[in-house]
Symmetry: C2
Subunit: 354 residues, 2 copies
């Protein structure tokens, strides 16, 4: 196995390029999508699919979903190179959701460059993003590791379950974002994270368990690890935004108070609204609802979060979740090497650019 | 079985309401999507998913994909009521693509009312449309007709194949729409129809064949029937737009020359560019490329199509395709009742409102 996790990146990109090459021709189309009834237009499919997909992938991203998959496969005692094509499943799915989310949010920037729909148009970007929901699922049909039918069916059923819950999570998040009032509590927030971000993590873990034929309690344990880690990661994001903003108070940069400006209902906001005096809670709500905030107003909101102990609360919850995640896989007999890699993985995720 | 095809509509809507009820509560969410890790927000999911989905369905649509599925099931000698939940699969998929297509095209109107993204916002509409790609696929996992594992796997593999090709077709269509020049020929156009519209038809037919365990040659035959019918239907649409426009020349209504105005590369346009004198072909290309056309220019383009014999050509191709479709299932031993229904179906499709 590779020395460090990042060493896997070139092999993963090569596996993705086997599924969807940088340069599309009629032979590839016929071999992957089957014979045309009349005639494909490789140039059109190049522009509609391969070019936007590789534009996004070439901007970076650590391929950590693919890497975590390979760590699990190796932890289960199997050769990860044999299962490399399957590692592309969560990776392409994830990048597809990024394109679609950016259209939904009207995002302008992604990984330091214009969001895909700003370059290729909303129609091309969206269709490419949606194609990336189905493209990787065809890998199971192509069956590169010659899996028996029951594992392929189990994989499809798992994917349908998790991809449905992903859309529930995204639906809740969007809905709350469009509401002015903060109507939900901490459990609903955590559920949204568990669905929206956690389910892709669960796909990584469960896919590794299913295709290597692990017992169902092992599949459950790694799924829980991945879900809890993803939720902790999401909360970490919320904390970073607030801490980064408080750290630069006085010299308000362009990232200053992003979440407050967007009116995001983060764990910190929900906690602060519950714990603050009524007049301060009302004031926080007011600033969140406003479409335009001055830097002073943002600072005021951040201070309400701080005074309510919401940063500390969120940090405790994140640590708790990370501990629960570790506990979930504690009973599994992973070797020291895998355990080390799962720890390395946690650090790897934290230095993130997605 | 019902006397006429339309009699199935209430039962189909009831089956859809079992999958995704008009009113969402925690019990439904738990039973369909599994236990939450923390707590779902039924109100949020109501607004994000059930309300937009039922808004679209309640605007009409003949549920003909579901009905055709049931006709095939009965034609294969099985009881359609037993397989009713599976009829929702192509129907919900189709309505999902409508929502997504409307976002991609920036459509304003759908079935006589504002497109969903104009009512619920692009984010909600898009997420609901995408959720409708996965929601129905979960039916196979829930397995209402107690199908053996091999049929469920075959159904998933078929769906992944066809849904991938759907996105190829949409990708080609979008790409050509964004190009000024007409670069493609008739075979590429027919392939686009076969992928974009035909694959959903193929899903209807193949799903009916797979879940009732038909031999593979029967599955291939009904798939061909459905694909060819869908392509004929698409060409019929192109012809209707031109004939309707020519018919009202002199009193230009609001639908006058829609396809020319949008610069659509229809079968008629591709044919006319190939068959017209060079200067008239150039003129047609010019009018198509222009962002603003006068009524006179549109009429001029329509006359170029007419003079090139493109309307007659398209009509012949459509009739040819319809004949090929009938021939495809000629060898199958459907009873007279099914044959009558498949004929009724063709008429039913023609009086369409989608």
């Amino acid at each position: 196995m590779r020395e460090t996790l990042a060493d896997w990146q070139p092999a993963i990109d090569e596996a993705i390029a086997t599924l969807i090459p940088r340069d599309i021709d009629a032979d590839y189309l016929e071999s992957f999508f089957g014979s045309p009834t009349y005639a494909y237009d490789p140039d059109g499919i190049q522009h509609a699919l391969a070019t936007p997909l590789w534009d996004l992938l070439d901007r970076g991203g650590k391929r950590w979903r693919a890497i975590l998959f390979l760590v699990f496969v190796e932890g289960f005692g199997e050769d990860p190179t044999e299962y490399l094509p399957y590692a592309c499943i969560p990776e392409i799915l994830h990048n597809g959701t990024i394109i679609v989310d950016d259209v939904e949010d009207g995002a302008t920037i992604r990984r330091g460059e214009p969001a895909l729909h700003r370059i290729y148009g909303r129609d091309v970007a969206l269709n490419a993003g949606n194609a990336m929901y189905f493209l990787p699922l065809k890998i199971l049909t192509r069956n590169p590791a010659d899996l028996p039918a029951d594992r392929r069916l189990a994989a499809y059923e798992m994917l349908m379950h998790e991809l449905n819950r992903t859309h529930l999570g995204q639906g809740m998040d969007i809905c709350w974002h469009n509401e002015r009032q903060v109507r939900i509590g901490i459990d609903e927030y955590l559920e949204m994270c568990a669905c929206k971000t956690g389910c892709l993590g669960r796909i990584v873990a469960r896919l590794a368990a299913i295709i290597t034929d692990q017992p169902s309690e092992v599949e459950r344990a790694v799924a829980e690890y991945a879900e809890l880690t993803a939720v902790a990661f999401q909360i970490g994001d919320d904390i970073l935004d607030v801490e980064h903003s408080l750290g630069q108070a006085g010299e308000f940069g362009k990232e200053f108070g992003n979440d407050i400006l967007e009116g995001k209902k983060t764990l910190l906001v929900i906690h602060a609204l519950q714990k603050s005096e009524p007049d301060r809670a009302r004031r926080l709500q007011e600033i969140l609802e406003s479409d335009n905030n001055t830097d002073d107003e943002i600072l005021e909101a951040l201070e309400i979060l701080e005074d309510a102990g919401s940063i500390d609360y969120a940090r405790e919850r994140a640590l708790e979740l990370a501990a629960e995640a570790r506990a979930a896989i504690d009973g599994l007999d992973f070797d020291d090497e895998t355990t080390r890699k799962l720890e390395e993985f946690t650090e790897f995720v934290i230095e993130r650019d997605v």
